[in-house]
Symmetry: D2
Subunit: 498 residues, 4 copies
C-alpha cells in the first residue's frame, strides 16, 4: 500500500470520473411509493445523479398495456394507460433525474408464455405478437416526447435485461433476443432517429460469447447501436442462511480484466470501435440480501471500483440507490443486506459516502494529479486539492501526502467514514436490531451515519504542505485542501485561554 | 475528581432540575428579526424552554407608547400601539414559548431624563409621571390578556432590571426603585390579583444590601411579592483588547455561596420564607464579547452550574439563547464571544448541548441516583439510566460507572462534546475566521457543532453493568442506558464477516 | 323547499353529527404510495377524520403472511412480515388518523380457493385452516399493540367485507361467514377483551335477511358484538359506456327507511338494543367510474345525507377520501368518476366541501337550532351561528333566515360551492379534459376548486338579524355569523372615497 | 371607453413592459425582519422582480460606518461592519432579487449637521468630510464585489434620494448635491468603470429646473451618468384626519406629460440623448397612510399606469412591495393605507394582481396586438392571447373582443379583481377592522384576496373567436386564451347528467 504520495501539482493523470451518470433502481412501479421517493430525494439532494435505470417499465403494475373486452359486444380494445408512467416520470423530473430506459418486461396480455422472475413475477417471455410490442414501445416513447419534449431523445434506451440468463429471457435464446433487438431498434429509429438505443444488456454469464455474437449480428444486419451495455458484479457464490446470503468479495482485478475483454471485443470491430460501453448495473454482490452491502467493507471496495471503472466503461450504474426493492420479497428488517446506498428511513450507508466523495471530485476530474491503489487526488481550479483515500484491509494505516503549494496556509477538511465513525449498522445492532424502527429510532441511527469531520491548518514549507491522512480498516477518507484567507477581527486571538 | 461511581438504583438524591424554565434574550425589538427567530426556533426544537426574558419591552423601537401632536390643534394624544408587541408575542407563542415579562425601559416620551444604556440607548430614568407609567403597564397587560387569554396571568412579571447599577437606573436610587416597584405592583394587582409580580431584579453589586432593603420595604408596606429575582455571573474582571474582553472563570463555590446568602436573607423573613427565587439572568461572563462563551470550557463549567443552581434557586435563565444582540453594537464576526447558546446561522455552541443534555434528564429528575462534582445520574421509569458527565480540567479522565441492572443486556448510547468532537469555533478558525460566512460555509461549520455519538452493548454481571466513560479536557458527555430487546431476523448474524 | 327560517336561539333539535368519525379508502397497500398520502394529508389538514377503513389488510401486496420453503430442507416456515403494515400505520398516525380495521381478504397461501375480486385480485375464499387464520389475526393485533400501545384497543375491528355478495365471499355463504365471525371474534377477545369487534359488514343486498340471521346466530352462540356494521349506497343501476357507468340518484328517503329497518332489527333483540350501528361505507354511487362523484349534484345530495344519517347510525364512512383506487383498474384520466373527496393532485371536489362544512358545525352540534330539508343551523357558544344550506334542484333559490341576536352587529361570512363558483370539473373540461395534467395545469384547476367567499355586516333589528342566503342549483352554502367587535383606528373611515 | 376591440393577430404595437425590473422598499434595516422577508418571498414567488430599491443603506441601524474610541488610548478607529449588510444581501439573493442601490443617508458619525427625516430620523446632511464619504461608498462596493462577484457591476447605483426636497437634503442645495454626485461618481468609476451610476433622483418638485441643471452640470464637468432617475406620484394634496391622509387621484395624462418633459430635457443633450430614465419610485399617493393604496380603485388606476409608463421610462419601481414601513411610525392597524402590494400577513392587495397580470404578459410583450385606454392584448408564441382589461370608472362595463383564430377551439381563462371578487379590505372591515388580526383571521382575510377564476370554451367562427369581457367598476380582468386540445377518455361525456 502506498504510504507516501508526493504531488507536484502539474501532473495530469487520465481519470474518467462519471460517478453521477446513472443509478439503479428496482421495479419502476415502486417509484409510486412514498418511501422510494423520499430515499430518492435524499440521494439526489446530496449526490445528484443524472439518469436512473431499473426494470419493469412494461410490467403489469405500471398498467400501460390494457386489453379490455366490451361486456356488450365482446370486442377487445387495446388501450395505453399512461397515468402511472406520467406520475413516475413527473416524480423523477421533480428530483432532477431522468430515466435510462430499459424496455421490459412483457405485459401478461402480450406475453407468449409464463416464464417469470422475482417475487413480483415479471414476465420474461417474448411477445406473442412482435408488431404489438413495437407499437407499445413507440407509442410509449411518442407519449413521453409529447409530454416532456425533446429532452426525451437524449434518454438512453436499452433493449431488455440480461437475456443471457434463462430467468430473464425464456431459454436465454440468443436468436430470439437478437430478433427483439432488431425489430425494437428499427421501430424506434423509424419513429425518430434521434433516439439512442443500445444492448445487449448482459451480465457476466457467457458474456464474451454473447457480446461477440451480438456485434456479429449487428454488423451483419447493418445495425449500429448507439452504445453497448453489460453488468458487473464482484462477489463469489453465496452461502444461504435463513433470509440471507453471505458472499466473499472477489479480486477487483479479475473484474477489471473481464470488463477490458468486453471493451476489446467491441473495439475489434472497425464499425464499433470506441463505442460507449455502459455498465447498466454494477455492485459487489448481486443478491439483495447480502449484509455486505450495508458495511464499511463495501464502501472501501467501491472506492477502488469508482477509481478504475472509467478506464473501460463510459458509465457505471450502481444497483441501487435505495432499499425499496421486492425481487426476493419484502424485507423483514432494516439492515437486510439490500442493494441501496440508503436504507429505509433515509439512513445513508457507508457506500453512500463513497459516491458522495467521488461526486465532489468532479469539478476537477480533468486535473487528476494522483491515481493509485488506495488514493485519487485532483487539483481544484483555485489551486487547492481534493482527494479520496481508502483502505480495503483490516489494518489501520496512515498515508503521508505532500502537495505543491502556492499559498502560505491551507485549510484542510477531512471526513472519515469507517467502522468507528460512520457505521449505522453497528448502532442498530447495539440497539437490538429493531426490525422496523420507530421514527425516533431512525433519527437516532441516522446520527451514526454521517462522516466524522475534522479540520486543521497546513502551512507551506519548501514549496509544499505535508499532510498525514489516517485511514482505518475498511475506511474511506475525503479531504479538501483550500487556501486559508485570514479575516480575523480586531482583538480576537483564537489561542488565548481563559 | 470522582473516578468511580457505583449506583444501586434505589438511591434518591435531591435534584431540582429546572433547566428549561426560562431563557434569556436581548432587546425585545430584535425578536422582529428573521435571524433571531430562526435561532429561537432552532433552540426550541431541540431544547424547548418555557419562558423567555429580555429587556426593552417599553423601549422606543417597540413603539408601544406614542404621543402625537395634532398638526392642526396642537393637542397631544396618548396612544398605545401594539402592532410590534403582538407580532413578537405571536412569534413566541408559535415557537411554544411565553414571556417572563421585564417591565422596562422608559419610553423617551415618558422619561424624566437622558440616562441611557447600551448601543441602542435604552432610557433608564424614572417616569416623569408615575400615573402615566402605571397606565402604560396595565394597558399593556390588559391588551395581552384580551389577545392571549388567561394564560397571561401565569407569565411572571419582573419590575425593571438591575436597579442597583447606575447605568440601568438613574443614580441606582433605592428609594426611587422601591417607589417604582410599589406603584407598579399595586396597579397590576388592582387590574387582576392573579398576575404574578416580583423583584428586585438585582445583579451581584451590593446585592445583600439591596436584597435586605427591598424585603424590609415590602414588609413595611405590607406588600408580598410573588417571587424574588436576582442575577448570577461567575467571571473575574475583563482584560479589554480591541473588540474583545477576556476574563477568567471564578471558583463556582463562591457563586453558590453568594446565592445561598440571598436565599438566607429571604428566608429570614417569616412572611417571605420559602419564596421562589428566580435567577432571571446567569452566565459565566457578563459581557457579550468574551470568547469564553463560544468554548468547550464554558460548556463544562455550565454542566456543573446546572447541577447545583437548583439548590438555592427556583429557576435560572441563561443569558442568552442566541447571538442576535446589540448591547455593545452589532457584532463584527461570527464567533465574537456573544452570550448565545447558538451562533448566527443556527450553529449550536458547546454550551447548547449542556442544556440539551440536562433537558433530557427531566423525565426522571425526581429519581436522581447520583449527584457529584463531575456527574449526575438519574434512573428512568423503564429501569434504564441517563447521565451527564463533565470535566472542568485540562486533563482527560475516565470515569468508571457501575449501575444496578434488572435486565441482561443494555444499549449504551454516548454523546461527547469536547474540543476534539464538537468545537465549531476551531473549524471556523481553521477556515480563516470568516466574519460573515456564506450559507455554504455555515453549513460546513455546523457539521463540527454536533456531539459525537457512540454505542455499545453492556452485559450484566453480578447484578450490575460496568461502563467506562471517557471525558476529555473540558468535555461534557451524555449517556443513555436502555434495556436491549433483541429482534434479530432469521439468518442474520451481525458478527459474520465477508 | 323552506324559503323562510326563523330561529329564536334557544331551540335544541336532536342532531347526531359524527361527520368525522371515519373515512373510506381503497386497498391498504395503496397507502404506501406518495399520491395517496398527499391526498390523505390534504384531507386531514382541512377536514380531519378520526378513523380510516379500507380493504386489503391481509391481501398479498401487504406481504404480512409468508410461507417460505427452505431450499435445502424443503421445510416450510410460516413468518409474519410487518414491514409494510408498520409503514402504513406510521403514515396514518403521522396524519392523525387511525384505522377502523377490516379483517380481509385472504392471503393466497392461506386461501381455500381461487374466488377473487377486483383488478387487483383480492382472494375472497375462507381460510384453508381456520386456526392459521385466527393466528394471523391475533399475531397482527398483538404486533400493533406492541408498536402503538393501548390506543389499539380502541380501533374498531370489522370481520370481512360484504359477505352477502358472492364476489366478496365465496358463495355468499352465511354459515361460513358466521363461522369466520365467531372464531375470529373469540380469538381476538381471548387475546384481550378490550378489543372492539363487529359485523356483519353487509351491503344492501338481502340486508334484512342477513342482519336478522346474524343477530340470531350471535344470540344463539352467546356472542355480543361490540357494534353492528352495514353499507349504504343511493343510486340506481348503471348505464355502462366505455370506461364509465352513469346512474341516477335514488330518493334519499328510501335509503333512510332502509337504514331504519336495520336499526329496528337490532333493537328488536333485548341483548343488542341500542348497539352502535356503523355505516362502514356509504356514497351515492357504488362504482368508481361514475362521473356523478365529481359533481356539484353529488355535493348537494351529500349535504342532506350528512344531516340525516346520524338519526339511525352511530357513524357513516364516506367511500372514499381520495382517487387513488384500483378496483376497476388504474384510472385513465383526471376526473374519471372516482369515489374520492379529492381528485389526483389534491384537487378538492365539491363534495369535499360538504364534509368540511359539517365538520365546522361540530363545535356546536349539541346546540342545533334548526334542521330541515335544505338547511341545518347550530348556535355557537359565543352566541353566533353556523349553518349549512343546500339545494338539490336545478333551480336557484334564496332562503330568508332570521336569527335571534344578542349583539348589535354581526359579521356574516358566506362560502358558496356550486357550478358557478366551485366546479373544477368544468375548468378541466374547458381545458380539453387533459388526462394527466401537468403540475401547472393541476395548480390552475385547483383555483376553481375552492368555495367563493363573501362577507357582510348584519345589524340587529327587533331582536333579530335578517339574512338572505342565495343557493343556486345543486349548491351548498356555509355561513358563519359572529358578533362584530369594532376596533377602528383613529381617522380611518372605510366608506370614505378618493 | 372602447367597448369593442378587434384583433387581426398580426398587429405589432410598441409596448415597453418592464413591470418586473424594480420594486421599492422602505429602509434597508427593515429587511432584517421576518415579516418583511415573508412579504418579499410572497411577492417574489408570484410576481418576481429583478431589483429592489429603498433608503437607508448607510443609516445607523445598518451599522456599517463605525467610529470607536479606544478607552485606553483615546484614539479613534474607523471600521466598517458588514454583518447586517451581508445578512440583507444574502436574504435578497436567496429570494432571487438584487439591489438597485441608493447611496444614503448619512451615518451620524459622518454627518455635518442634524437635518433628519422620518420617524426613524435618517440624517440628510452632507458628509462632514467628503473623502470619508467616498471611502465609505467604495469600501462598501468593494466588499460587495468580493462577496457576490461580478454581478455587482450590473446593480444600478443611484446617488442619494430626492435632493430637491429640503427634508431629504439640507436646504435642497443644488451645488452641494452636484458636488456629492460628482465626487461619488468619480470615486466609484475609479474603483471600477463597470459600475453603473446615475442621478439626480428627484421627485416632482421643481423637477424640470433640477433635471436641466443636473445635466448642464454633467455636461460641463464631462461626466456621463449611466442613467437618469426621477420619481412619479399622481395624487392631489391630502386631507389629514387622525392617522390618515385622504387624497384624490390626479388625471393620469398630467403625469405622463410631466414624464415626457423630463424625457425631452434629457434628449435635448446630444451627449445624453436616449439615456435610460428610471422612475426609481412611483405610486398613486406619496404618503404611507392613504387608504387609497389598499383599494380596487388603486389597482385599476395602476393598470393604466403600467401600460403607459414604458413610453417614456426604461423602468418604474412601485413604491413599495410590502407594508413593513416606518417613515411615519409603526402602523396601528392592518389596512392602514400603506404603500405595499401586500399587507401584513402576506395578504395581497388588489394592486398586487395588476402587477402579477402584467408580469404574465412579458412572455409576449414584443407581440402586442392592442393597446388602448382600458386594455392591452398580446399574442403568445403558441398563437393564443393574453390580455389585461381595466375600468377606472364607477360603472360596470363589458368589452367585446374579437380575436383572429388559427384553431377551432380555445380555452379562455379569466381572472377578475374587483370590489365584489377580490377586496380583502372589505372583508376586514366587515370583520370589525381588527388592528392586528390573529393568524386565523389573517388566513380568513387572505381568502378574499385572490382573483375569481372562470373558464369557458370559445369556438372559431369566420376566422375569429368572439369574447365578452365584463369589467365591473374599478375592476381589473386578466384573460388567457389558449388553443384547446381535446383528450377526452373513452365513454366520458361531460354534458351527460344523472
Amino acid at each position: 500500500m502506498a504510504k507516501t504520495i508526493t504531488v507536484n501539482g502539474d501532473e495530469r493523470v487520465a481519470f474518467h470520473n462519471n460517478v453521477d451518470f446513472c443509478i439503479g433502481t428496482g421495479r419502476m412501479g415502486l417509484a409510486l411509493t412514498e418511501e422510494y421517493l423520499k430515499e430518492l430525494s435524499f440521494v439526489q439532494d446530496i449526490i445528484g445523479f443524472k439518469h436512473i435505470r431499473g426494470h419493469g417499465l412494461f410490467t403489469d403494475d405500471m398498467a400501460i398495456y390494457q386489453r379490455r373486452k366490451d361486456w356488450r359486444t365482446g370486442k377487445e380494445t387495446i388501450e395505453y394507460n399512461f397515468t402511472y408512467l406520467d406520475r413516475v416520470m413527473d416524480a423523477y423530473l421533480a428530483r432532477k433525474i431522468v430515466p435510462f430506459l430499459e424496455l421490459g418486461f412483457m405485459p401478461r396480455a402480450l406475453a407468449s408464455g409464463d416464464n417469470a422472475i422475482f417475487y413480483w413475477r415479471g414476465n420474461t417471455t417474448p411477445p406473442k405478437e412482435y408488431e404489438e410490442w413495437t407499437r407499445l414501445v413507440t407509442t410509449t416513447l411518442a407519449h413521453l416526447v409529447k409530454r416532456y419534449g425533446e429532452q426525451v431523445y437524449s434518454w438512453p434506451i436499452e433493449v431488455w435485461n440480461e437475456p443471457n440468463l434463462p430467468g430473464f429471457w425464456k431459454d436465454a435464446s440468443m436468436p430470439e433476443y437478437f430478433k427483439l433487438f432488431k425489430l425494437t431498434f428499427l421501430a424506434i429509429k423509424e419513429l425518430d432517429p434521434r433516439f439512442r438505443v443500445g444492448g445487449p444488456a448482459i451480465c457476466g454469464v457467457r458474456d464474451a460469447e454473447w457480446m461477440k455474437a451480438f456485434f456479429d449480428f449487428c454488423k451483419e444486419e447493418g445495425i449500429k447501436p448507439d452504445f453497448a451495455t453489460r453488468h458487473h458484479y464482484t462477489t463469489e457464490m453465496p452461502d444461504h442462511v435463513g433470509h440471507y446470503g453471505y458472499q466473499k468479495l472477489s479480486d477487483p482485478q479479475v473484474g477489471f480484466d473481464n470488463l477490458q475483454s468486453s471493451r476489446d471485443i467491441i473495439d475489434s470491430y472497425p464499425e464499433f470501435k470506441g463505442m460507449e460501453m455502459h455498465l447498466t448495473e454494477f455492485n459487489t454482490s448481486y443478491i439483495p440480501n447480502n449484509p455486505l452491502h450495508d458495511t464499511n467493507e463495501n464502501a472501501a471496495y467501491l472506492a477502488y471500483q469508482l477509481e478504475r471503472l472509467g478506464e473501460t466503461s463510459y458509465s457505471y450504474s450502481y444497483w441501487t440507490f435505495g432499499d425499496v426493492f421486492e425481487e426476493m420479497g419484502v424485507p423483514f428488517s432494516l439492515f437486510h443486506g439490500g442493494f441501496g446506498l440508503v436504507a429505509h428511513g433515509c439512513i445513508p450507508k457507508p457506500t453512500f459516502w463513497t459516491f458522495a466523495f467521488y461526486k465532489r471530485l468532479q469539478d476537477a476530474t480533468e486535473a487528476c494529479v494522483y491515481k493509485g491503489k488506495n488514493a485519487v487526488i485532483v487539483r481544484k481550479p483555485d489551486g487547492g486539492y481534493r482527494g479520496v483515500f481508502w483502505n480495503m484491509t483490516d489494518e489501520a494505516t496512515e498515508i503521508s501526502v505532500k502537495l505543491a503549494a502556492d499559498a502560505k496556509e491551507y485549510t484542510v477538511l477531512r471526513e472519515t467514514v469507517d467502522e468507528v465513525t460512520c457505521n449505522p449498522r453497528k448502532a442498530w445492532h447495539d440497539m437490538g436490531e429493531p426490525k422496523n424502527p420507530s421514527a425516533e429510532q431512525v433519527e437516532l441511527i441516522r446520527r451514526f451515519a454521517y462522516p466524522f469531520a475534522e479540520s486543521e491548518i497546513a502551512k507551506r514549507s519548501r514549496g509544499k504542505i505535508a499532510l498525514t491522512v489516517p485511514v482505518r480498516a475498511q475506511g474511506v477518507v475525503y479531504i479538501d485542501v483550500t487556501e486559508r484567507e485570514f479575516e480575523g477581527d480586531r482583538g480576537f486571538t483564537y489561542e488565548r485561554r481563559f
